[in-house]
């Protein structure tokens, strides 16, 4: 663990050993950062070593697919890419609905390596991008913390963020997602921002804007930056810390950042049209007013101007606020979007947007997941915050605001733990650095006075004289030095070791599952790989028509498109709620009603995930209640959530389950012909129950494929001429003409319904 070795030499004043302190500390810094990079990289490789170099989960599959498309067809074709394989029959304009930073980054690396004649497959770049970027994040965190406190604290923070589970959860090898590179961009933007506030130079502000541009191109979380930096400026204004440096850095950053961010097609005109970005423009206007008033004040620095200054600022703030409110009411500025609004009004999503509430990472956070993701940092970062506030300056105002806002957001949504983690690492780095610096520094004079008495006499008399003054106190303190100080050091080493083993354990056990390849362990510790997902997607790509349309719940859309290369109806880009609701309605209806919807949507195959045979809990039956809820939101007449529960309000699939439940399409597709799952055959091991409706036949669909462990089941939707038609021998396929039709025409009329002559009238259909 590099953390422990880092602290001593950098913080200590051991001039005695090395004359060139600056060179020595640079060496230490570079070594520690390299080790942090390596440690961070290595701890993210569990998935690759256990399984293989493979893209994980859901969203990364889309990112990988579009990266591959971009590498193949070029950047401009990528920007104009209309993907007809998604959201059938609507399609999706990929170039305009995606943050291209991730694809561009890996595309650039790919291009660079190929220019150097290193032939590497784009998949490997995608798999290893996030671990590599974790090292860059560590460096950015080091720089940020050095600006805030000291280089020692920076090294601590870098080591923390390299391995902390809260960040490695989103950046293990194979999780090729925006967050992997966005946290680096976030930290680096903040570092440059602090640098520009400190120096007030246009150069650093433009660097901030460029880094912000990269962040905007990479992740929707850029909204956090464009609200936090104005908040910082605003609080500095309130605290009376206005300065020319602040004025220059914010105005330059805001204008250039605004223009840059609008270059991303997905963002477009949002920065000037939506409420999420209005704080930035409001603060910009306010800063202009304050700057102007300050200038007037400097022209005539007399007492009464000060009142005017304060009053003018207040009036300007009120005017800006009212202007934003008025524009929102007039509809010029779009109000807060649901996703952001639900951060403030925590009950909002649950009532109004079930599709947001259904995602597990949008749930609030329990204390144990805070502890799981941050371990010892969770109870040391307040110490860093304490000392930052006690020794406040312009930069530390920023980090305090960052900590408080991020901890709030992390409390509301598990997913936003990711934005909390960097600041927690920074503040804990500060806390550990303070304490170890104190404990270890005071060792030096005592050591010096005991051991190197002679050597000191040789060259530094003056220093010795200076030290005389606190001498009596120091002899008293030696008792503390002998027992408590080593105790402190040992205790903190143990804490740090616990932290590092915890991080490794958490990353290995909780965050390194590719989730498309499952592993199960037998009693003897042997491992079985369940590769059902890829088996099914492989089957789809080999055995279905090129343009076959696959209906599944939206979770699997990206994987079907990425691995199966087939058209999907809905996918993880959940932009069209009514389309998703339609699929949910099909799954929740009975077979014949579902067939109507499926033929309306041109569905060829239906894919369901069924975990009953192996006890996989993330299957479609367990997600089913959300399908019902989302369908009910759009089709309240046809789908009622209550129908899927028993009278006592339980969600069951056994004989006591509700009738609607036992006859809906999802149930039937999951349990059709199911006879595995141990004893008795047909037992559902996920829900520990015997399915209530068994041995049924399917009328409108037929089973096409079921994977080895029953995990993925694929059904083909029959064409209209394939069902409800008992086989009739050829001789009997004629209908004898009934008496009601006049016998004047002796010719037989085929294909007419009996006793319904009205249909025939005026329309002589001669089929012969």
């Amino acid at each position: 663990m590099p953390t422990t070795t880092a602290a001593k030499p950098v913080n200590g004043h051991n001039q005695g050993i090395f004359h060139n302190t600056a060179g020595f500390s640079t060496l230490i810094t570079v070594t520690v950062l390299t080790l942090a990079w390596l440690a961070g990289f290595a701890s993210r490789l569990f998935a690759v070593i256990r399984f293989e170099s493979i893209i994980h989960e859901f969203d990364p599959w889309f990112n990988y697919r579009s990266t591959a498309y971009m590498v193949e067809h070029g950047f401009y074709n990528f920007l104009n890419w209309f993907d007809e394989r998604a959201w059938y029959p609507l399609g999706r304009i990929v170039g305009g609905t995606v943050y291209p930073g991730l694809m561009l980054t890996s595309g650039t690396i790919h291009w660079l390596l190929h220019a150097l004649n290193i032939p590497i497959h784009i998949r490997d770049i995608c798999v290893f991008l996030a671990p590599v970027f974790s090292g860059l994040t560590a460096i950015a965190t080091y720089l940020l913390t050095s600006e805030l406190w000291s280089r020692g604290a920076g090294l601590f923070a870098a080591c923390f963020i390299a391995i902390v589970p809260g960040y490695s959860s989103r950046s293990v090898a194979g999780s090729y997602d925006n967050e992997g590179i966005a946290i680096f961009a976030l930290q680096f933007t903040y570092y440059l921002w602090l640098k520009s506030v400190k120096s007030g130079s246009v150069f650093w502000s433009i660097c901030t804007a460029l880094s912000y541009f990269y962040m905007v191109s990479a992740w929707g979380g850029y909204v956090f930056i464009i609200n936090l930096i104005p908040l910082h400026v605003f609080v500095l204004l309130i605290m009376g810390r206005f300065s020319q440096r602040l004025f220059v850095s914010y105005t330059v950053f805001y204008i250039i950042g605004l223009v840059f961010s609008m270059q991303i097609p997905f963002v477009g005109f949002q920065p000037i049209r939506t409420s999420e970005h209005m704080a930035a423009s409001g603060v910009f206007a306010l800063l202009m007013v304050v700057g102007a008033l300050k200038y007037l004040h400097s022209l005539n620095p007399k007492g009464e101007w000060k009142q005017l200054l304060v009053l003018g600022t207040l009036v300007a703030a009120g005017a800006v606020f009212l202007a934003v409110v008025a524009l929102t009411y007039m509809g010029v500025i779009a109000p807060w979007s649901g996703r952001f609004y639900s951060l403030w009004d925590t009950g909002y999503a649950k009532i109004h947007i079930p599709i947001i509430a259904s995602v597990s990472e949008h749930q609030p956070t329990t204390w144990s997941s805070f502890f799981f993701d941050l371990h010892v940092l969770v109870c040391t970062f307040p110490v860093g915050l304490w000392y930052c506030i006690k020794n406040i300056n312009d930069e530390r105002v920023f980090v305090a605001l960052y900590a408080i806002s991020a901890v709030y957001f992390a409390g509301v949504m598990v997913r936003l733990m990711l934005t909390l983690t960097p600041v927690v690492c920074v503040l804990s780095g500060i806390a550990f650095s303070i304490i170890l610096e104190l404990v270890l520094r005071e060792d030096d004079p005592t050591q010096a006075s005991v051991e190197t008495e002679e050597s000191k006499n040789l060259y530094d008399k003056a220093g010795k004289v200076k030290k005389r003054v606190p001498e009596p106190a120091q002899t008293q303190e030696q008792g503390l030095g002998l027992y408590a100080r080593p105790g402190t050091v040992i205790a903190f080493m143990i804490l740090l070791m616990l932290f590092s083993v915890h991080c490794t354990w958490a990353t290995s056990n909780a965050y390194s599952s590719p989730s498309i390849v499952l592993a199960s362990y037998g009693n003897d510790g042997s491992r079985r790989i369940l590769d059902d997902f890829r088996e099914a997607y492989g089957w789809l790509s080999q055995n279905t028509a090129e343009d076959a349309r696959i209906m599944s719940w939206w979770d699997y859309g990206y994987q079907i498109a990425g691995m199966g290369n087939r058209t999907t109806l809905v996918d993880n880009n959940t932009w069209n709620n009514s389309h998703i609701a339609l699929v949910g309605k099909a799954m929740a209806s009975n077979e014949s009603a579902a067939y109507e919807i499926m033929s309306m949507l041109d569905v060829d195959y239906v894919l369901v995930i069924f975990g009953g045979a192996i006890g996989y809990s993330g299957d479609d039956i367990n997600k089913f209640i959300w399908m019902v809820r989302i369908a009910e939101g759009e089709h309240p007449k046809d789908i009622h959530e209550a129908d899927y529960f028993t009278e006592r309000g339980e969600y069951r699939i056994d004989a006591e389950g509700s009738k609607t439940m036992l006859n809906c399409l999802m149930y039937k597709l999951s349990y059709y012909r199911y006879d595995s799952g141990g004893s008795p055959p047909g037992y559902d091991r996920t829900r520990n129950a015997m399915p209530g409706n068994r041995g049924f036949k399917l009328t409108y669909l037929e089973e096409s494929y079921t994977t080895e462990h029953w995990l993925v089941r694929i059904y083909r939707v029959k064409k209209r001429d394939e069902f409800n038609r008992p086989r009739v021998p050829l001789a009997k396929r004629t209908i004898s003409t009934s008496n009601s039709i006049s016998k004047k025409t002796s010719k037989r009329r085929k294909g007419l319904l009996k006793n319904k002559p009205t249909v025939v009238k005026g329309k002589k259909m001669r089929l012969e």
Binding site: T346, K390, A484
Partner: protein, 330 residues
């Protein structure tokens, strides 16, 4: 054959006669109910009225009835809430454009109609039931508060479900939040104005730091989760109270307080250690007494950090299955 015909004619006659009677009676009933509704949007029902309007057959209207026990002696706290929401729905319906005489709202209080409770074998209150125009009430015709909640919107949605009458609940706008906010704002402003000559406390970093730390402890211990999910304070079992939820996906309110306290103890311990070693500025102890005091302080700090962090770790370990590490305590 003739007899049959006669019988048939008789049957038709009696039928049409009763039919006509029924229609008159129905119109009468609907008229009466409409009059009632004009007076109060919820019709109070006793046994006779209940039998006449809700139970007896000639009906072409749905009846929503709330069974409740409003008397203070019954100590039904939730009844009042449900009544308020129910009244809101009934009022919204009465004054809305979709008002029809196909739907009426009624209410039975236990103290006035305990026979009705017995008749319907109701043991609990409050219950909201729907009596459809045709047929008997099904299980789904009594509203499930546990799942749907007691909000007027939920009641309206349920009524829409059962009767196809859409009620847009018009909630009188709730100004209490805005009023409280304005009041707070005014108070703070007034306070600042009164102390405008002595605003030193605003520059008190200690105060701000303590406030920030409290906020962090609250968030980190999952108070937000508590607020959104509303878990019980702690769990009572037969073998005694349980304070720590055994699953890692849940927590009790008391548990989160304990965790906040443990976190705070660790933080206090660390701050004590830093201050005893001279603080950030690295001041030296000035006298032997102070040195002694500092030594004591630092040992206390160290003990606080180790013990409370170990406690935190062991609580976490008890919640997380298969977690292998611990420190000091199992």
């Amino acid at each position: 054959m003739k007899f049959k015909l006669l019988l048939f004619v008789c049957a038709i006659l009696t039928y049409s006669k009763t039919h006509a009677q029924n229609r008159v009676k129905l119109e009468e009933k609907v008229q009466q109910l409409t009059d009632f509704t004009a007076k109060t949007s919820i019709i109070p029902l006793n046994l006779n009225r209940f039998k006449e309007y809700v139970k007896s057959p000639p009906r072409d209207y749905s009846f929503i009835v709330m069974f409740t026990a409003m008397a203070p002696s019954r100590r039904c706290a939730i009844c009042q809430h449900v009544y308020d929401e129910y009244l809101l729905v009934a009022n919204s319906f009465r004054y809305s454009q979709s008002y029809t005489n196909k739907l009426f709202f009624g209410m039975v209080d236990f103290d006035e109609g305990s026979d009705i409770f017995q008749m319907l074998r109701l043991n609990t209150a409050p219950v909201i039931m729907h009596f459809p125009a045709k047929g008997k009430p099904k299980p789904a015709d009594s509203m499930d508060f546990e799942r749907a909640g007691i909000h007027a919107e939920a009641i309206g949605k349920w009524i829409n479900d059962r009767t196809d009458v859409q009620i847009r609940v018009f909630r009188p706008p709730n100004y209490s939040g805005a009023v409280a906010f304005t009041l707070l704002f005014v108070l703070v402003a007034a306070f600042l104005y009164l102390r405008r000559n002595n605003l030193e406390f605003l520059y008190n970093k200690q105060m701000w730091a303590v406030a920030a730390l409290f906020f962090c402890f609250a968030m980190v211990s999952g108070q937000m989760w508590n607020q959104i999910r509303g878990p019980p304070f702690y769990h009572r079992t037969k073998s005694g109270p349980v304070y720590i939820n055994s699953g890692s996906h849940g927590q009790f309110v008391l548990e989160s307080y304990i965790v906040a306290a443990l976190n705070a103890a660790v933080v206090v311990g660390m701050i004590l250690m830093i201050e005893s070693a001279g603080g950030v500025k690295g001041t030296e102890a000035k006298s032997p007494q102070e040195g002694k005091k500092r030594r004591f302080q630092s040992v206390v700090g160290l003990v606080l950090v180790c013990v409370f962090f170990s406690l935190l770790l062991s609580v976490f370990r008890s919640k997380t299955q298969g977690y292998p590490y611990s420190f000091l305590f199992k």
